[in-house]
Amino acid sequence: MATLNQLVIGASIGAVLLLIALGLTFTFGQMGVINMAHGEFIMAGAYTAYLLQPLVGTQSVLVALPVAFAVAGVLGLILERLAIRHFYGRPLDTLLLTWGISLVLQQVARDIFGAPNVQVRAPGWLTGGLDLGVRLPYNRVFIMVLAVGCVLAIWLYLTRLRHGRRMRAVMQNRQLAAVSGVATERVDQLTFFIGSGLAGVAGVALTLIGPVGPTLGTNYIVDAFLVVVAGGLGQLRGAVIAAFALGILNSFVEFWVDNGASLAKVVVFAVIIGFLQLRPQGMFVVRTRALS
């Protein structure tokens, strides 16, 4: 039973990781940007939920989701316009730049909200759980449903809508997209908006299972990067599998081993390094005749 419990916890963390990793994998796949400040969009989303609570009341999570998406999305867009776009295609430079920005944003949060963690109260219908022999906490189920919904929406966007098609085109061959008449800069902005917005949504999800603090994003960003690398860059399917695998692996190691939190990290790192030894390109590789 405890096993099933860990599975649910792990899967819900995996769901959050997935939401975070999607933005990272898109911005890396499309623009060659390693965005360390992505974690701070998670934080921004979480604080958005915190700020909305007194205004909206206990149902605030439902309002917070779209608002946090917009807030984090706009923050991402501002960051892209002001700084990151000058470093496109230079992953190491963007890494350093955004790492610095991430520290600045954390300090800004500390100045505004104070260093101690704050709490967002979940609405009544998300407390408690469903008893099926094993207890399924409603908040964790909600997070999983949320992630699945977001992935589905992204998938529909990428495959069915004009803007999504354009985004895939830019990701696959930027120069060809430009000479086909696509305004690639506009596509980049939209990608940044959506990717950052999803991190904001992840931030709201995290308020349902824990406190909110200035370093909230830092706790998840490394794992999210591991998801991106293991899943294969720019690959939706790979990211989905890697995120849930990582979340569940983490949760089991933490449970089985006493004092497991830090050991879990070590084990997860080892597993991923081993995996990447076998498949340096990640889980799914783009295989076409064009590349051979």
Partner: protein, 231 residues
Amino acid sequence: MLTVQGLDVAYGRAQVLFGVDLEAPAGSLVCVMGRNGVGKTTLLKAVMGVLPVRSGRVHFAGEEITGLKTHERVRRGLGYVPPGHETFPQLTVGENLQVAAEATGRPSQGAVDEALDLFPALPVLLKRRAGFLSGGQQQQLAIARALVGRPKMLLLDEPTEGIQPSIILEIEEAVQRLHRELGLAILLVEQYLELALRLADRFVILDAGEVVRSGDRAELRDPSVHALLSV
């Protein structure tokens, strides 16, 4: 229709084009020729705004386009087929065309149908991923993609390079038809004299980044031209 004046282009510190002039009147088919590495691809990329120019001007359809972004040039009616049969490999053939059609801002099924009409092999492949087509099919797709925006002028960079002979013929016929029947202005980079003799109204020969010869088709038979093209 397209006028290039005194174009200098460099990759970093290495200058590749030196004061290139070129004139392609409406409805003409101009062949850009020259050995490997003389700057033909660079010239086309500079015209498309893919590469920045160091100095010189490009005019198209009565307007200076030197400072415009690539997609703005496309929307003004320049179609471009890069070398090496490039596609969006993970998109289907249909999506490859759709992306280009939608990018013009006024997607038209008519334009897509016309482009497909030119290459009878493509319509049955619409649902296949472009990356899995043969090189020749990819090249046909690449040309169709450049046409769905209904360009006023088409820039083709060695469309028959590395393509199986049967498809070379189809591509040559398509280019003929675009030029003769539809009156499309075409700038064609081509290394093979035979093909140029069949297609071109006029030609320009580059050597080491400079225009060393230009003239109309008849002059292509001149022995001195041969010397400029042979390795």
